[in-house]
């Protein structure tokens, strides 16, 4: 996630220039992000005494966790969809999210240059442009990189998508104007909030949550109530039988990649709106978390992915609450839990059925 050419110096020649500003900027950003979800956090002792404060704080944490969980779930659903139809993990998924968020930002900049300042119109166009562009990108990736490697060892698919992720991430960093620095993301949703005691229920958070639920509901409808969804599920279940039933396998794979990537773009825009800031590294971070979430839930199940997303967000929130002395270690805690979970349930909480035929 770090930036700038003075990092490894190819040959490690830049070792004399330690601790780039980017690293510090990132830390500062994380810090701000943490503060936002929490408001002012009282000392551990005073939590027990002030009861109303307790509830307000609790609600704040829950809201924060729900927002994070929604984003993770949207990413995780993409992983699950791809795994379902092709049995591959597309590690570039997170970076597609980054590109989606930056597409939205570029659209916004373009719109304001044109003098269109209506926030709803801007938001709609941004969302439309980002999802459409990422759907196309997803199809392109599937067509050019993933499908040709179907017969190759799984390691090759893994590597090619990892490297594609690097290409996307580095392209954003190098070719987006000032892409190496965190960019402010416009706050286009209403800023007001309802005060419930100590808890500020922000309208924009509620609307984002609602939009996320709507997206997942729409996906659910698509998968289970339409002919296209039936075809996707058929391909996921058994490719060969699906082919013999007259389903166009390639087309279904492409459509699935388009849907998953569009969802990632949606999550990217949501991430930008929530933090009011994006940087080129969010994709790697959200991608690994989304993948972990998909795995925790068990790959191949949409509900598992959603469950995993919220579970991971809950873990992070609990980590922040339980380790007050070390809230900087929130991510360390979360990733350590992922590793531990993998050790405990190597194929996810909802176990994937594995039978190996020799």
């Amino acid at each position: 996630m770090a930036t700038s050419g003075d990092r490894l110096g190819g040959a490690g020649l830049a070792l004399v220039k330690p601790g780039t500003c980017a690293g510090r900027a990132q830390l500062a950003m994380r810090h701000r992000v943490r503060e936002k979800g929490r408001g002012s956090r009282p000392e551990a002792g005073s939590v027990a005494t002030a009861n109303t404060m307790d509830i307000g704080l609790f609600a704040q944490y829950v809201m924060n966790g729900l927002m994070l969980g929604m984003m993770y779930a949207l990413v995780a659903v993409g992983f699950t969809l791809f795994f379902g139809v092709l049995d591959v993990i597309k590690f570039s998924h997170g970076d597609v999210l980054t590109v989606g968020a930056f597409t939205a930002l570029a659209t916004f900049v373009g719109l304001s240059r044109l003098g269109l300042e209506s926030q709803w119109f801007d938001l709609a166009v941004m969302l439309g442009a980002a999802t459409l562009a990422m759907a196309l990108l997803g199809m392109l990736i599937a067509r050019v990189l993933v499908l040709p490697l179907r017969g190759a060892p799984p390691l090759n698919t893994l590597l090619i998508t990892l490297m594609l992720g690097t290409v996307l991430r580095e392209s954003v960093r190098l070719f987006y104007p000032q892409g190496a620095n965190p960019k402010p993301f416009p706050a286009l949703l209403p800023r007001g909030s309802v005060n419930l005691g100590d808890f500020h229920l922000r309208f924009d958070n509620v609307m984002m949550l609602a939009a996320g639920v709507a997206a997942i509901a729409a996906l659910q409808y698509l998968l289970h109530r339409t002919k296209l969804g039936l075809a996707i599920r058929a391909v996921a279940q058994d490719e060969e039988t699906a082919r013999t039933m007259g389903i166009n396998f390639t087309a279904i794979v492409l459509v699935t990649f388009a849907i998953g990537s569009a969802l990632a773009a949606f999550a990217g825009v949501m991430n930008g709106l929530y933090y009011n800031e994006i940087n080129f590294g969010i994709g790697l971070y959200l991608g690994v978390i989304g993948f972990s979430a998909a795995i925790i839930g068990g790959l191949g199940s949409i509900y598992g992915a959603i469950l995993g997303g919220f579970l991971f967000a809950a873990l992070q929130t609990v980590g922040t609450v339980l380790l007050p002395f070390a809230s900087a270690y929130k991510d360390v805690f979360a990733f350590a839990v992922v590793i531990a979970l993998m050790a405990w349930r190597p194929t996810g909480l909802i176990r994937e059925k594995i039978s190996e035929r020799v």
């Binding site: 490894l8 110096g9 040959a11 601790g19 830390l27 490297m163 190597p346 190996e356």
Partner: protein, 386 residues
Amino acid sequence: MVAADEKRADLRPALAALGAADAYLIALLAVESTAAVLALLIAGVAAVIVAARFGLVGRVARAFAAHEDTLGLFAVAALLVVAAVFHSDHFVLLLLVTVLLYSTAALGLNVQFGYAGVLNFAGASFFGIGAYAAAVLNTFTAVPHLVVLAIGGLASALIGCLLLLPVLRTRGHYAAVVTIAFALLFKTFLEVNDVLGGPQGMPVPGMALLGWSFNDNIEIGGIRLSFYMSYLVASLLLLVAAFIVVRRLERSWIGLNFDALRLDETAASCFGLDIARWQITAFLIGNFIIGLAGALFGMVGGFVAPNNYTFADSLILVSILLLGGIGNPWGLIVATFIVVVVPEKLQGIQEYRFLLYALMVIVVLLFRPQGLLPRPVRHYFPGRKP
């Protein structure tokens, strides 16, 4: 034809190739302007393609297969010639040291990836563990620096032990995510903790052996040698040792077991191989070698910082492996030269190197998935015709 004659005839193309590569490397390192570097690179690629067309590459490969030990000595000599030519040039020597140590680390990764098929996408993290161990020990203790190197390797292997259970229990994609999560965890951890210098990193005192400090320039009979020369010799010794160990390992029955379990775990366990045991062996040996290289690298650079050990750097190690041809130690040394030296010489593309590495790997995977120098069929008795 008598076998002995054939052997002697075989050696010459390899020697010629080594000499040509040596001259080419010296020229590449000596030229300064971007245009000259580009011209040399294009000429090099063209020369290799032409040589391949006339079947010369195949003869060189056969010579290497037949006389590996002799040619290994010549390769070391060739590198020393390059070092001697640039004996007072800090930058070039540091570049060579980097190549040597990255090759060593890639050798360690090769044991895991190439032989046993154990995925490790946190190579740079284990490299970093070695470097940080060296930083801490050199700063706060008086442990002899050779022992520090060994401790760097051991630390890397021991911390690798924490990942053993999840790595062993998972397969394929799932195993990948364990090491990726570890790479991210490691960097975040280095950034947020205060003891190890946080995002700023910490300085590493240079190496000293028997009262002789490696960070002093050397003067012999009026000739000034860069202080990197001592590091170069140390790195070269480390690489040669690692190379011999890895090569012996590959040729031994342990290597045979590794190959068996990489190719088919089920079949291997049917033949009585203990999968977990050999995966653990490969993972720990690999991490030990990576940590060793990392510890020396930390001392060479004089500074360790979290940004040098990111996930992107781990991916660079993997791309070295893939470019060279997974499982072929010679190939990965060639690949390290390409991956490390070319971006340094083309300062203009420095900034774009992660992008270029990634694109390069994608192209290699699409068009030559076996790498530049694919691993040859196992030779049980070098020099003997089957």
